[in-house]
C-alpha cells in the first residue's frame, strides 16, 4: 500500500487521493493554525481556492493539500502551530485576540522605538506560514512561449464549449488546473465535459492539463504555471471560464474545522470516498442543495438539508452544532460537519485584472449558478464574440454580526467595524488597514464581503468597489517566476580561445568578454610604444552604409563634414543626440562607393537603431548592414606595425597608399582585410577588419611573423593607459550624459558651418551660455586615485575620471572634471595629498608624429 508521512506519521494513500483526502481519512481535522489567533483551521473550500490547508511538501512550503495529489513516499509537514498544529501553545492568542484589534501591534509596540524590532521578531515567529528552504538547490522552471488565437482558461463545460467553437476560427489553447473533469462530482457535468473535450480536441484545440493561470495581462497575454514549466501565452483573445466557488459564509464559528464549502465536501465524499463526518447539515440557498446532499451521502454520511441563514456554528476542536434561521424559524442541529452552499462567488479575479476588451468570461464565472446547457451556450457565444456580461450572484449571502471575513488574515466582522469606526471608510482603505483580502487566497473568499461591508455602511460609490485584482491568482513558486531571468548573454570574439590559452584575464565589458591583460601590463605598453603589438578589437560596432543617400544621411546625422572625406580616407566621428550631447564616437572611412563606420563596442545596437531611425524618418535610400558580428578586427600597433604587415602582404602599404587617417583593402597572410590607419593608442596602427571565420588564422600569422620584433598582444588595461597618454576620452568613464563637444575639448570634431546636423540647434543654443564645466588633462605630483575629488581651498570643484602612472608621459597623468569658479577654471588643485596641475593634452607625442609612421 503506498503511503506518505504527515509530520512523521505514516498515512496510507489510496488511488486518486489528494494529500488532504489521505490525511482526512486518517482522522486529521486541523490542517493549519490561523495567522494571528492561532485558531484551528480545517479543510474548507476543498477546491484549491482558500489557504486553510497549506502544507509543506518535500520541503516546498505553501502547497495546497486539497488539490495536490498524494504520492508514495511524500513527506508532508503542517506549517503552523507550535509545537504542532494539533497542540499549539499560542492558541492562547485566541482568548486575547479580542483585546488586540486591527492595528494593535503597531500602536502598542511603537513606543519606545527600540521595542518594535524586538516585538517584530517575536510576532514574526508566531505568525506566517511555511519556512523557505534556504539550503535547497535553486529550482529553475523553464519558460515556454506560446502564441494562439484564443486562450481559454478553465476546462469545464463553458470553457470546452468555447474551445470547440473557437477552433473553427484559428488556434485554441485550453488551460485547466487539473485533468479535465477530474474534480467534478456531478455525473451530468462529467459527461458534458467528456463530450465537449472530445469535440474540442477533434476541432483542433490544444488542451493543457495541470496548468493554472496566475495572471492575465495587457495584450492580452497570460501566465500559466504548470508542474514543471511557466507558459507565457500571447493570445488575440482570452476566454475566462474559471467557474464559481460557493460564497464564503460569515457567522460566528464560520472558521471551525468541519465547516465546508459545498463542492469541496462533495469532492471529498464522492471522488475520494472519504466521509466528511457522521452527521452533516447542508445549508443550501442555491439549486445545488439536493445534489450536494446526495454526494455527501455516498460516503455514508447522514445528511440534513435545510435552506436559510446560518446564525451560528459552535464547537471546540471542530463544529458540533449549528443554528439556522429557516423559513420555518430558528432551528438548531447537532452535527460534525456543516456544508455551505449559500450563494455563488464567481472566480472572476482574472477577468477583473485587465481592461482589455478581448478578455471575456463564459459560463459560471459570468452567469453564476447557470445550468450545464446555459454554460455550454455561454461558452459557444463567447467564442463567437457574443460573450455574456458579468453578472453578480443574487442575493449576496448575508453576513452575521460576527465571524471571520478574511480567514487567511484572521480579520473578523468585529475588526471591520472597528476599522470603520476609526475612519477607514472605503473598501481599498479597509483592505490596507485590516489586511483583509491580502492573505494567500488573495481575497478569493472575502473580496466581495469587503466591498459589501463598505456599501452597507453607506460608503461613497467610488469607495465601495471591489479591491483591485492583481496577479498571482494561484501561488506560484519563486522558481517559476525567475524562469529564464538568470540567463545572461555573454559574447565572445572568435579569438576567445587564443586569449584564454595565452593566459589572459578575461573581463566582462558590456556583454563581451575581453582580455584585460595577458600578465604584464607594463610589457604590453612597451610592446606598443617600442616594438609592435596586436589587440583583438572585434567587439567594435561596425556598419557598412551604401545606397544613393548614404552621404546625405551621414552628413545630416553626424557633425563632421562627410563630403570632405576623400575616398580612401577616414575621420574621427562624434555622434551627438538631439540635445547636442555626445552619444558615441568612432571612425568613418570613405570606401569607394560606400562608407564604413566603427563605433564603441557597447553601443552597436543603439547606433544601429539610431541610424535606422534617421533613415526611416528622413525617408532616405540607404542600405545599412550591421557587420559587428560578421567581421573580426585586430589592431596592429607600434613603430614596426607597417614592417610586420609588409612581411605578410604583397600590397602597397606605403604612407601614400595607406596614410593616417586612411583606409585600404589589402590581403594579409592570405586573409582579405579592410585596413584602417587609426591613432587611438598614439602609435602607427592599423585596424584589420576581416571575415570573423578567419580571425584565428590571421592572429596566429601576425604573432608568428611578429616574433622578429618580440611581439606581444595587449589587453584593455594597457589600452587604458595608452589612450590616456594621448588624452583620448573613454565615453562613459570620462564623460557624463550632458556633455556637449566643447565641454570635452572636442569642438574641433564639429563642422559648425554645415547647414544641418543632429544637435546643431542645441549646440547653437548652448554656445550662448557660459561653459560651466569641462574635461581637462591633469599632471600629478604623486600617485593619483581614480574618482578622487579635486578641490580648491577645500571646496570640491571636480573629480578625477581617469589616471595612470605613465612612463611615456613622464609621470602620473589623468583626466578629470573641473567646474568654473567665478567664471574661471582653476589650474592647481588638491586631490587628497596629491597636487594636480591642469595640463595640455596629449601628454605623449603632442604633434602626432608617431602615429603617422
Amino acid at each position: 500500500m503506498p503511503s506518505l508521512r504527515l509530520d512523521g506519521r505514516r498515512l496510507e494513500v489510496s488511488d486518486g487521493d489528494t494529500i488532504a483526502a489521505a490525511a482526512f481519512r486518517a482522522g486529521v481535522r486541523t490542517f493549519t493554525r490561523s495567522l494571528k489567533a492561532h485558531r484551528r483551521r480545517g479543510l474548507y473550500c476543498g477546491t484549491g481556492d482558500c489557504a486553510n490547508c497549506l502544507v509543506t511538501v518535500d520541503g516546498l512550503p505553501g502547497e495546497r493539500a486539497c488539490v495536490t495529489p498524494a504520492t508514495d513516499g511524500m513527506r508532508v509537514e503542517r506549517e503552523t502551530g507550535w509545537p504542532s498544529a494539533d497542540r499549539d501553545a499560542l492558541a492562547i492568542n485566541d482568548r486575547l485576540h479580542r483585546f488586540m484589534p486591527v492595528g494593535f501591534y503597531y500602536k502598542v509596540f511603537a513606543r519606545p522605538r527600540w521595542l518594535w524590532p524586538i516585538a517584530e521578531r517575536v510576532i514574526r515567529r508566531a505568525t506566517g506560514t511555511g519556512t523557505l528552504p534556504v539550503n535547497a538547490p535553486a529550482r529553475r522552471t523553464p519558460t515556454r512561449f506560446v502564441r494562439v488565437r484564443t486562450l481559454v482558461i478553465g476546462g469545464g463545460v463553458a470553457g470546452l464549449a468555447a474551445a470547440a467553437t473557437a477552433s473553427t476560427d484559428g488556434s485554441v489553447l485550453v488551460a485547466d488546473e487539473a485533468a479535465l473533469g477530474a474534480r467534478t462530482t456531478d455525473a451530468a457535468a462529467r459527461e458534458a465535459i467528456t463530450r465537449l473535450g472530445a469535440e474540442a480536441r477533434a476541432a483542433g484545440a490544444d488542451i493543457l492539463a495541470g496548468h493554472a493561470a496566475i495572471g492575465v495581462y495587457e495584450g492580452p497575454s497570460a501566465a500559466l504555471v504548470g508542474p514543471d514549466e511557466l507558459v507565457e501565452v500571447e493570445a488575440e483573445r482570452v476566454i475566462v471560464a474559471t467557474g464559481s466557488l460557493e460564497a464564503h459564509g460569515v457567522f460566528p464559528g464560520n472558521d471551525l474545522p468541519g465547516v465546508w464549502l459545498g463542492r469541496g465536501a462533495a469532492r471529498m465524499a464522492a471522488i475520494h470516498g472519504v466521509p466528511i463526518g457522521k452527521h452533516a447539515v447542508v445549508v443550501a440557498n442555491t439549486d445545488e442543495g439536493a445534489q450536494l446532499a446526495d454526494a455527501v451521502r455516498t460516503a455514508g454520511t447522514d445528511v440534513t438539508l435545510v435552506a436559510g441563514r446560518v446564525l451560528e456554528a459552535r464547537g471546540g476542536h471542530q463544529v458540533t452544532s449549528v443554528t439556522v434561521l429557516t423559513p420555518e424559524g430558528r432551528r438548531a442541529f447537532a452535527c460534525d460537519a456543516l456544508v455551505l452552499s449559500l450563494g455563488w462567488a464567481p472566480r472572476d479575479t482574472l477577468l477583473r485584472m485587465t481592461v482589455e476588451p478581448e478578455v471575456v468570461g463564459a459560463g459560471d464565472v459570468v452567469r453564476p449558478g447557470c445550468t450545464l446547457d446555459e454554460a455550454e451556450s455561454s461558452g459557444r457565444a463567447a467564442a463567437r464574440g457574443n460573450a455574456d456580461e458579468p453578472r453578480e450572484a443574487d442575493p449576496w449571502p448575508i453576513t452575521e454580526h460576527d465571524g471571520y471575513v478574511c480567514v487567511c488574515e484572521d480579520v473578523s466582522m468585529h475588526d471591520l467595524e472597528h476599522a470603520w469606526d476609526e475612519g477607514w471608510t472605503s473598501s481599498e482603505i479597509l483592505k490596507r488597514y485590516t489586511t483583509a483580502t491580502m492573505g494567500p487566497c488573495q481575497g478569493a473568499l472575502c473580496s466581495r464581503h469587503l466591498a459589501e461591508h463598505a456599501r452597507a455602511k453607506g460608503a461613497a460609490p467610488a469607495a465601495r468597489g471591489r479591491t483591485t485584482a492583481r496577479p498571482p491568482v494561484r501561488g506560484p513558486r519563486l522558481g517559476d517566476l525567475t524562469g529564464g531571468v538568470h540567463e545572461q548573454a555573454e559574447r565572445r570574439t572568435a579569438l576567445h580561445d587564443r586569449h584564454v590559452s595565452a593566459g589572459a584575464r578575461m573581463d566582462h565589458s558590456g556583454v563581451w568578454l575581453r582580455p584585460g591583460t595577458y600578465g604584464d601590463v607594463a610589457d604590453e605598453i612597451r610592446a606598443v610604444r617600442e616594438r609592435v603589438s596586436v589587440m583583438d578589437v572585434s567587439t567594435l560596432a561596425k556598419f557598412l552604409l551604401a545606397g544613393r543617400d548614404a552621404q546625405t544621411l551621414l552628413d545630416r546625422v553626424f557633425p563632421l563634414d562627410v563630403g570632405a572625406i576623400a575616398p580612401g580616407r577616414a575621420r574621427y566621428l562624434l555622434a551627438l543626440d538631439e540635445a547636442g550631447y555626445v552619444m558615441d564616437d568612432g571612425l568613418l572611412a570613405a570606401l569607394h562607393s560606400s562608407y564604413f563606420l566603427t563605433s564603441t563596442s557597447g553601443g552597436a545596437d543603439r547606433m544601429e537603431a539610431w541610424l535606422r531611425n534617421w533613415i526611416d524618418r528622413l525617408d532616405l535610400h540607404v542600405h545599412l548592414v550591421n557587420q559587428t558580428s560578421q567581421l573580426g578586427a585586430i589592431n596592429v600597433a607600434g613603430p614596426h606595425a607597417r614592417d610586420l604587415l609588409a612581411t605578410l602582404s604583397v600590397d602597397d602599404l606605403s604612407r601614400d597608399a595607406l596614410p593616417y587617417p586612411g583606409y585600404a583593402e589589402i590581403t594579409v597572410a592570405g586573409v582579405p582585410c579592410r585596413a584602417i590607419a587609426v591613432g587611438f593608442v598614439g602609435e602607427l596602427s592599423f585596424e584589420l577588419h576581416h571575415p570573423r571565420g578567419r580571425s584565428v588564422e590571421l592572429w596566429d600569422a601576425l604573432l608568428n611573423a611578429g616574433s622578429t620584433w618580440d611581439i606581444r598582444p595587449h589587453g584593455l588595461d594597457a589600452l587604458d593607459v595608452l589612450r590616456l597618454e594621448k588624452g583620448h576620452v573613454y565615453l562613459a568613464q570620462d564623460t557624463m550624459p550632458d556633455d556637449h563637444p566643447a565641454k570635452l575639448g572636442l569642438g574641433w570634431a564639429v563642422a559648425t558651418h554645415k547647414a544641418e546636423f543632429v544637435g546643431k540647434r542645441a549646440l547653437e543654443r548652448m554656445d550662448a551660455l557660459p561653459l560651466e564645466r569641462r574635461l581637462v588633462g591633469l599632471r600629478f605630483d604623486g600617485p593619483p586615485q581614480r574618482g578622487h575629488p579635486l578641490a580648491v581651498d577645500g571646496a570640491i570643484v571636480g573629480r578625477i575620471t581617469s589616471c595612470a602612472v605613465s612612463v611615456a608621459a613622464g609621470g602620473p597623468v589623468g583626466l578629470g572634471w573641473l567646474r568654473a569658479v567665478d567664471g574661471e577654471f582653476p589650474n592647481v588643485l588638491r586631490a587628497g595629498d596629491v597636487t594636480a596641475t591642469v595640463s595640455a593634452t596629449p601628454f605623449y607625442d603632442p604633434e602626432g608624429v608617431r602615429l603617422r609612421g
Binding site: 495584450g219 501566465a223 538631439e578 540635445a579 537603431a609 535606422r612 531611425n613 544641418e756 540647434r761 543654443r765
Partner: protein
C-alpha cells in the same frame, strides 16, 4: 509580458522584443529658439500618443504606432 506591438514585417510580437523610441516628434526645428521645446518639452500624454518603437530583437525595423498610455492598448 503584457503589451503586444504589431510589426509590419513580423506581425504581432510581445513588446519586450522592441525598444522604445519615445514620442513621435519632428525631425528638425525651423529655428534655434523652438528647438528646445522640440527636444525637451514632450507632451507626455495621458491617453493616445503617437510613438516610435524599434524591433530590436526582430527585423530591426522602426514602427510608428498609437498607444494609449493609460491602458497600453496599441492601435495599429
Amino acid at each position: 509580458m503584457s503589451m503586444v506591438v504589431t510589426c509590419p514585417t513580423c506581425g504581432r510580437r510581445p513588446f519586450t522584443e522592441f525598444s522604445f523610441g519615445g514620442e513621435l516628434r519632428d525631425v528638425a526645428s525651423p529655428d534655434t529658439a523652438s528647438d528646445f521645446a522640440r527636444v525637451y518639452l514632450h507632451d507626455n500624454a495621458d491617453g493616445p500618443q503617437e510613438e516610435r518603437w524599434f524591433h530590436l530583437l526582430g527585423c530591426r525595423r522602426w514602427v510608428t504606432l498609437t498607444r494609449d498610455t493609460g491602458t497600453n492598448r496599441v492601435e495599429a
